[in-house]
Symmetry: C3
Subunit: 341 residues, 3 copies
């Protein structure tokens, strides 16, 4: 098997073979709650850097690392007291006392693995699309790096969802119909989860329909990546502007809000666009049009705004399984990246 990459920023870095092997390791580990790997990371310490807050990601990484015998240290550079300068060549006479170069040198001395969460600022698409924080870590850090969600991608969510899809469809998600449906929200929302989930569905060879209003499509380069991945895996990919049409015959309905590139940094225009639209929320009536679809959602979720209580609490909802698989997928990922399994 080819070596695992030293960084994990997007699932596009994983060949079909590596992806399959990682999913399989996650399922194996889950089956005995990682007993066989209880001491696998005994000598390893990971840093978890959160530029943004987290429940699921922090809990699943910390618990998962502990279950493998390793240790984790949470660092919070997002607090006001520890600002990092990312620009090269700058005279650092303002409020940021430390440069990313020294941050990376320092972390490499103490940690075997660094995980970073850095959301987009949602002020400018030109800026967000550069994904500059995770890229700076990728450039300067000498030890393995995992993205816990950056401006553009949330690869660990996608990997966990791949594990769930394997469980739901007896190891064969390819050829199944999956809808990734946009939803109206109350505030601007990053594209990272949607980008990664769409790409993963395509990598798994599913028939993916992206359901969103006109003008709310994901970024052009993402659409190209998803198309290319579908072509390679034998899946299909289409964009549909009618939610009811898209859901017809679906085996999986995944809901997620996002702000499209053209509306990043324009919250009042985004709100006007929402006001002009009909309802975009997953309810029982829409789900009835599907092929008894599973309901997926990465959480956190705003009930009765994005999805009704009836759908998220139904027996076809697998949100709990998705959340649990975050830990299992990440454990498999860490074991592979660190060469332990």
């Amino acid at each position: 098997m080819p070596a695992f990459p030293r960084t994990f920023i997007s699932t596009s870095q994983l060949s079909a073979e590596l992806l399959q092997a990682t999913i399989q390791l996650a399922l194996n580990g889950k089956s005995d709650n990682w007993k066989r790997y209880r001491h696998a990371l005994e000598d390893r310490v990971a840093a978890l850097l959160f530029f943004n807050p987290s429940l699921r990601t922090r809990s699943s990484f910390q618990s998962g690392i502990a279950r493998l015998g390793g240790s984790s240290v949470v660092l919070d550079p997002g607090s006001e007291t520890w600002q990092i300068e990312f620009q090269d060549g700058k005279v650092m006479d303002e409020d940021k006392p430390e440069h990313i170069r020294e941050v990376c040198k320092t972390l490499a001395g103490y940690f075997d693995l660094v995980c970073v969460r850095c959301f987009p600022q949602l002020k400018s698409w030109e800026q967000d699309k550069r994904d500059s924080i995770i890229s700076a870590f990728e450039q300067h850090l000498k030890v393995p790096l995992i993205s816990m969600e950056s401006s553009l991608w949330h690869p660990c969510q996608a990997l966990a969802d791949a594990v769930t899809l394997h469980e739901l469809f007896g190891g064969r998600p390819q050829g199944k119909n999956m809808v990734l449906s946009w939803a109206k929200h109350v505030k601007p929302i990053p594209m990272a989860v949607s980008n990664s989930v769409a790409l993963m569905a395509a990598q798994l060879g599913m028939n993916l329909r992206l359901a969103c209003p006109e003008g709310f499509e994901l970024g052009g380069e993402v659409l190209s990546q998803v198309s290319a991945a579908a072509e390679q895996s034998g899946g299909t990919f289409s964009v549909m502007h009618s939610q009811p049409e898209a859901i017809k015959g679906a085996d999986v309905v995944y809901v997620k809000s996002w702000t499209p590139p053209a509306l990043v940094g324009k919250p009042s225009e985004e709100r006007r666009r929402w006001d002009d639209l009909p309802a975009w929320m997953i309810d029982e009536k829409l789900m009835a049009r599907s092929a008894n679809a599973y309901f997926m959602d990465c959480l956190p979720e705003r009930r009765n705004l994005i999805v009704t209580d009836g759908v998220i609490d139904s027996t076809r909802s697998v949100v709990e399984q998705q959340a649990a698989n975050r830990m299992h997928a990440q454990n498999a990922l860490m074991l592979r990246m660190l060469g332990v399994a």
Copy 2:
């Protein structure tokens, strides 16, 4: 022995037999600093959720879990960035992005035990007496739950104090005279510690005197619970409105401020009531009326406001022993709840 309950919200959940067994395990563990149980929680990870800050509780849980070979993850939903919706059926279009139902589903996937601290808001007794946060966790969480102090109870403090009382009185606190004395404070204070300490003294069969000014009694249902527990254990319970009279002949004096139900949410009225009262503070003169009583206090303590330096620093003060026993009592509790001992 009957099975241990899956949740620990109040010591009322413990039969005399379970209480006795837990105290005994705490004393055994303390005797060799938990060496015999060094790997007992090796496969377990606990979440510690703090809606409110903590020194003793966080330190004692984290250190205690580590000494048993387990791991703990501290989560702080009280920070502004992660608000939980507790109301069912709500359209979640405001500032709370996640529902307690999903929080509990998520936590159950990563943790073997969840511990929650959630103080009352002290704005409305009608609201505080519902103890709604800990109740929501009790309702929705599928894994063991320990309260690290809720609106109404602080069961871990009471359990630790039971261990201390056993140590002080050679394993036989029953029949000893204990005074739980109110004290003047500078701000409104929850009833949780006082409720749990009073109930525990009654459960242990002590002769409990609640010393407080008229109108400052604990809530009516608590008084009934305490009376019933005293009756069952062979102890006695009385409320006395004179501090000097109450302390006469006491074997233990425990001091704690609290805001009574009738004054919750009325801080200016509470202050006026304080101003009309004589001094209510534990000093050497009062202690001299006791039967050479031990001085107890759950800490933190405001010196020379609630108790004089002379009393808290005296040889009869056992506050350090009480604090240390928090860890030992909680370790015993966790081992029993998780079925490891």
Copy 3:
């Protein structure tokens, strides 16, 4: 070998023999990444108390303790919610709910080691020079205590730098020429690192030149301590007011800003003094006057204000090695203090 002191507040507490033994243990541990000591602290739990923020110190202590099999708990009394009263005899009716005496009693019950970081307030030299927070812990705490930087000293940085100097000079830093150079900054900066680094260089028998403008010398008592240490170790110590002269022939150039005693609490006077001075920054031209000196810096560092990109990125810069040695030095220190090695 004499016993290690129970507290570590300044490297002055270490005899030449203990210092040498600790450096050697750090180098041994580093050589196999502490494999031989993997379970040395298995039964130990340390509290890390931060009155001020930290990246390197927190990361290196937490990672280092984990690598020795121990556990650490981070406590943040600096947040607004948990204020400590340090004054004795006070009526505690204001905003500080707990006295340092009870804090120390409590911590001793849960932890085998307490590490404290407490910066000076830089408002009054009379106050800062008392180093009152670390002194209060020293007075009241019954378990081992390590300073993670106090008002006057940063002994762990100095110990780490001693390890680095041993590595750079094949175990024989004595007799080498070291310049500790002041630099212009944009805000008042504590003296702790400079004090400890100067003292350490003297303890190691180096020829130390303190380079700073007139009136920017370190505190008088520190200068006396450094002189005395140099005399005892066979080193030399001088203060020079010309940066170019001081650097001539240097084997090591260490840069650090500080606010001298006479300017503490007087930021506008300090700024006026800066404006009157020529440039004080380490650049390639200055370094060219040295004997191909190593460049040292404790980090964090403001590039192009204190040191140019060209110098900190050069092959003679050892800042990464210095940062990594924080962990190794501290691990050796903890093993010695706790009597494990």
